[in-house]
Symmetry: none
Subunit: 242 residues, 2 copies
Amino acid sequence: MSLAKVRIVLVGTTHPGNIGAAARAMHTMGLSRLYLVNPARFPCAEATARASGADELLAQAEICTSLPQAIAGCRMVFGLSARSRNISWPALDARACGALTVQEALEGEVAIVFGREHSGLSNIELDHCHYWVHIPSNPAYSSLNLAAAVQVMAYEVRMAAMAGASPPARRPTESPPASVDEVEGFFQHLEQTLIEIGFLNPSNPKLLMRRLRRLFFRAHLEIREVNILRGILTAAQDKVKG
Amino acid sequence: MSLAKVRIVLVGTTHPGNIGAAARAMHTMGLSRLYLVNPARFPCAEATARASGADELLAQAEICTSLPQAIAGCRMVFGLSARSRNISWPALDARACGALTVQEALEGEVAIVFGREHSGLSNIELDHCHYWVHIPSNPAYSSLNLAAAVQVMAYEVRMAAMAGASPPARRPTESPPASVDEVEGFFQHLEQTLIEIGFLNPSNPKLLMRRLRRLFFRAHLEIREVNILRGILTAAQDKVKG
């Protein structure tokens, strides 16, 4: 079932009770794959207490030291974000995210990423997300508890999975979709090349890479396309180095 | 707005922390009217702590000694129930309850009633409810935390209230879409640059440009993005020419 392909990633969680409550929320909706990026305290009795019967999810949780590690191998990454930033980015509400998660999980791994209790996800972390997701809320008080946000998202994923609608028409592809780490490798290669050709000043990068990430994310690159693009970059580097 | 007509009724809540977390969940979704039937401990510092900024809802909460007192004056009452009982009864899932709540709240007061943490609502209490409501969940583990259940229901009420009032989501853009001739100019520039860096052999071009066109067409380039991409190409050309 598609729910087995869905990772819930909690980044930098401060309160272990929230980790336990998030695990319980996941379990009630049939999600089981919990990833913890640099939790402040884990494992912890408080997490186990709040998990209230979902402690198996805690025992099987993957502990990671970076967000890229937690999303490695995923074909699509969603990041919860309540804030607006300087640059616009593809955005979805929770319901649309649930539908897209189920659709993408037919083909591969999907991650839904939640930030810190007080500060959310950093801009750099949000750069790893194909879509920013917001839970519609009271504009005067939009501060959902972390586990409550996990509950709503997990609920929407389950509702979408249960809808059982036939998958929508898909665009024809020539090769499989590139994974997030393959695309990340391309972005690093691109950035390095832009520095070498003098287009990007590493001491004053501005929003250039963010704009380019946004552009290529929209295209949903295939493996073959990543290989072509990296071939171009290598050719340019060789030529510049003479 | 119809949300002002919706009461959230918590019956016999044991843990004051759950009352606070439920108040926070309500406030995030714009619900404000909390009714407490025979809470074990209230008011309580633990409730206030978990309310996390929604403490005004706690201060204004109505304390009742019976469910009939809490639902007096309502035109419709929904009761959360995970259990099946001997007798069948009109039942709704959370989403349908949200829609019906908003519809009925146009005409009068509506109550959504939540039972005790471990035993839910009694049969006598469920008899007061026009509909029994279930939150779709994992059959093997359907035990939502009380505040998590309030969060999901409040979310569905808000989503129903917002439905039809909000325009469909559009991808945010930073600049207008590029015209076909602007994109064509980019493709010519790209092809010329690929020749100059030795990646494309003009006497044996194969399908390279077609693949790149397909990729960039999918991204629906904006004017600003075309300018960035052409800036990169020009920088590469300058560097190659030395």
